[in-house]
Symmetry: C2
Subunit: 563 residues, 2 copies
């Protein structure tokens, strides 16, 4: 299937409740269930921002819809709210003054969220999956509007914001729905149990097995991928019958406000409480996430962000099932190659994409000392080719998301020998945008205190080692001790690739081998690649596997004798 | 399928490694996979202690084997051990002086447990499932020996010790293996991913998905069901590639020592490290469970026991996935009936079985005030019929497991009006056995402080209420606030049964309706009934569902471009 003949996005005019909608949602669900079992390529939501797919006026309409949110209060169902908060600023310099309801009465919020649960639970897995897929279709139809919202909160370049913030996030959501649906329906809804009793009549019981939710689920979003990282938890919790409280990062509220608004509309149209999905925006420093995550009503917490706060949640929100994605140190082991230029082009793109502000971006390039100069020179050339022209560079780099990242980048040259310096890039359309190319620093294997911690942003280390064996050791140690979401190895020696795979198993990290073409280590494809593993400190769970969804609901049985 | 033509137990002479064994294990696994999907009756291990099934000399051989353990040191692979501990006493008065290796060097223990993991991981799900089923077959062949071990540690009567400690526990283990196998194999081991690129060549990647274990798993056993409650966690963790440290209750070590010994033998014969399953026996008060459960190597903890300690584990072993089964208050709502005699016979058996020392035994019998006298009288009659004859009574009651339970029973009459008194029963074969019939106390709905807490042992309350509506309210409240593993309702009114089912969903408790025949509320059948739900304070997980197994392993992927 090519992107061009992928299923058409639905226009909002096609209702959630029509028979056509139900049949289409069912078909989407079945295809997603097949995809997660096969793990070949599949996508439900086209990633190309093309007028042929999304409509001739979609781009202009999306921009207009985005602009219409600016300098207004965003309307949402918000139980317990008083006044509004406005906390965003665009990394591109655009004024993004959107007011969101400020929920301060959490008792009222929780009561409203819980009140909607019984009807949502009683609707059953099929109805819930249909409603969730309708939400996704409506979100998909607004992908251009979402792209601008993601771009002007995260600093992603437009096409990336469209893809990662739109269809890729939607695919990840659908994947989570499919996993959850598979787990909810792995048991029959009812069964007859007949136990033989020798010559006497058998014992016969009718049994019913009902999926019940855990309660209220809290999703804590991040500043860089507000939709992509939040959707799996949000939709996995919602489709399993829970109410979901979405706590966005103060810097990236609009993408989740749009999402919550669409979810509330679809829920209400389908006869359910819109308060099943609520946005809790906050002032920076209000720390409402901690208050929410430890409420007794809250039984599920999903979090993406810092290691320190993720660990705090794991240790303190013990009344809940906590799913965290935290920081990590991603490595690439460079052993041997046929075409170093192709190797470095691939790596240069991975370092540059969204200025390395991805949890999947590589940081440590581990290379034997005698090959380091060659790699450094080729990498410098590849970065120059990719980023030499400002107007092309900004489409890869996007903008720096925060002052913290900028400060870290500015201090970075003191950490090692500069192999490739960072440079300031001028955005042709947004003169106030802060855009920087990556810095590459050469450090020795002995300087572990430098490269052992995550330097989030466009900062990479060319770590010189005694040998590939030492490179593998360093990778294994950093991933096991400090976490890693991705890893890559380049080698022409099958024994090295095998050794790398064993390190990947031991350190619990996803491995990419010899990437030189159009696949990059920091990309993971919905329905095929697992994002994180839950087997090292970078994350305690994986997006998305059975472990990620199975604890979001319980099965309650009833049984009665058959007369 | 009748019990009599169930698959034959394997004699230890049939090795783990023969092709016959492999094919037979495969067939057992496939039947178990089918059973957990259908949830009709199925059992792999015959529950009847019959010579026709287990062999003409099995009973005598089992008794001799049990007696041979007495006054000896039990041989086990025990890394880090120094000396022995001996902590058991038989509730029947038999001297049970068995010495177990005393492991004090936990660093050495952990190193030995971890050392065996890579080879066990690399063997893959099919080999591991085969080895685990071979362990179960060997355990099954020693069910008579196990029955005596369970009887003389827990106080269960012989037939119950045989069934619950033997075949029923083995079935529960197989069920956990099947669930874990299903989850480990829901993804293909490898897949080819082909992403179309319009008119260009598609992107093609080969991907490999490898199941990796979490690390070391700790199983903390209880005094009443040392095998039945420990096997699901033990086998779910082992089959998913983890090493398992078994920490038995000091009062019930022998059943788990036998289990560990057989597991070590089968693992060694199959070429794996016997230290993958280790027994850590302790002196009372040594508190090794807390030390073990919070070790960084430990990533999974399974626990059955008190609420206070279970909650301590949930709050403190945050480096691990913790599965707990704790205390609860089980209710029966008595609304209306066709045959009160049949109702009370069924309830009398549930109250009496193993002296109510079951987490599934009912405690609160909720009945409208105007029907309480009738129910009390009929229940007294049913208990007298069931337990009036000492030699028959002991086969139902077993013996009191501990001084704590006895003290609680002796103080119980002060808690309410005695409807049925407890009496002392003389065991014809074991004159020192402490055997007591249940006490039934009448209390009013207003006396919540009396019946709101678990009175573990043969203590039941006839709670008089204003109405069935109030009965349902009290049941809902106690289950939600204090936990419950089982519940029952008796009513001839479909509306009451429906209301009860909604309470069951809200309170997350398994419901039995109108049991009057040969099924009892405290029984749950492997492959069909879920034991606990994880949806109320009595347990944070269910034995066994997908949520119980899916977090015991992770999937690590590797991918490489196809040339």
């Amino acid at each position: 299937m090519t992107v061009e003949n992928a299923p058409r996005a639905t226009s909002p005019a096609e209702g959630a409740d029509g028979d056509d909608g139900k049949a289409r949602h069912r078909e989407t669900l079945l295809r997603a269930l097949s995809a997660i079992a096969k793990r070949d390529y599949w996508s439900a939501f086209p990633e190309v921002p093309s007028p042929k797919i999304y409509g001739e006026t979609a781009a202009a309409d999306g921009l207009a819809a985005f602009e219409a949110h600016l300098d207004t209060d965003f309307p949402l169902t918000a139980p317990g709210s008083t006044g509004t908060v406005s906390t965003e600023r665009s990394p591109y310099g655009l004024r993004v003054a959107v007011g969101y309801p400020h929920i301060r009465d959490l008792d009222r919020l929780m009561a409203a969220a819980q009140a909607g649960i019984p009807a949502w639970r009683d609707a059953g897995p099929d109805v819930r999956a249909g409603v969730c897929i309708e939400i996704l279709e409506r979100i998909n139809a607004r992908s251009f509007e979402m792209a601008h919202a993601v771009m002007h909160t995260t600093g992603q370049a437009f096409v990336m914001a469209f893809q990662a913030g739109g269809p890729h996030a939607q695919d990840r959501a659908l994947e989570a729905i499919a996993y959850a649906y598979a787990e909810m329906t792995r048991h029959p809804a009812q069964a007859r149990w007949t136990k033989p009793q020798g010559k006497r009549d058998p014992l016969v019981m009718d049994k019913r097995f009902t999926v019940v939710p855990r309660g209220v689920s809290v999703v804590i979003g991040c500043a860089t991928f507000p939709t992509w990282n939040s959707y799996p938890g949000l939709f996995a919790s919602l489709v399993t019958g829970n109410a979901v409280v979405v706590k966005p990062h103060p810097a990236a509220v609009l993408p989740l406000a749009l999402t919550v608004s669409i979810a509330q509309q679809v829920l209400a149209e389908a006869g359910f409480s819109p308060a099943l999905v609520v946005l809790v925006a906050e002032q920076p420093g209000e720390n409402v996430a901690s208050t929410l995550a430890t409420r007794p009503e809250v039984r599920i917490v999903d979090f993406t962000g810092s290691t320190s706060y993720g660990e705090w949640l794991e240790r303190n929100a013990t009344q809940a099932q906590v799913y965290t994605e935290k920081a990590g140190v991603n490595s690439i082991v460079l052993d041997s190659w046929d075409d170093l230029r192709a190797v470095c082009r691939n790596i240069a793109f991975s370092l540059s994409l969204y200025s390395g502000q991805m949890c999947t971006a590589p940081q440590n390039l581990l290379v034997p000392r005698d090959r380091a100069a060659e790699v450094g020179a080729e990498l410098a050339r590849a970065l120059e080719e990719l980023l030499g022209d400002d107007s092309r560079a900004v489409e890869v780099l996007g903008a720096i998301v925060s002052d913290d990242v900028l400060a870290r980048l500015e201090k970075a040259p003191s950490l090692g020998d500069v192999v490739v310096p960072s440079r300031s890039v001028t955005h042709p359309a947004f003169p106030d945008a802060i855009v920087r190319s990556p810095v590459v620093l050469r450090v020795d294997a002995a300087e572990a205190e430098v490269y052992d911690q995550e330097q989030f942003g466009p900062i990479a280390f060319l770590v010189t080692t005694d040998s590939t064996a030492q490179s593998l050791e360093i990778w294994a140690r950093t991933a096991s001790q400090h976490g890693a979401i991705t890893a890559a190895v380049y080698s022409t020696d099958p024994a090295v690739l095998d050794a790398a795979e064993r390190v990947a198993w031991d350190a619990g990290v996803a491995l990419s081998c010899n990437l030189t073409g159009g696949v990059y280590v920091n990309q993971s494809a919905a329905f095929s690649d697992f994002h994180a593993t839950g087997a090292n400190p970078a994350a305690n769970s994986c997006l998305t596997d059975a472990a990620y969804v199975a604890g979001r609901f319980r099965v309650v049985q009833s049984r009665r004798p058959v007369a």
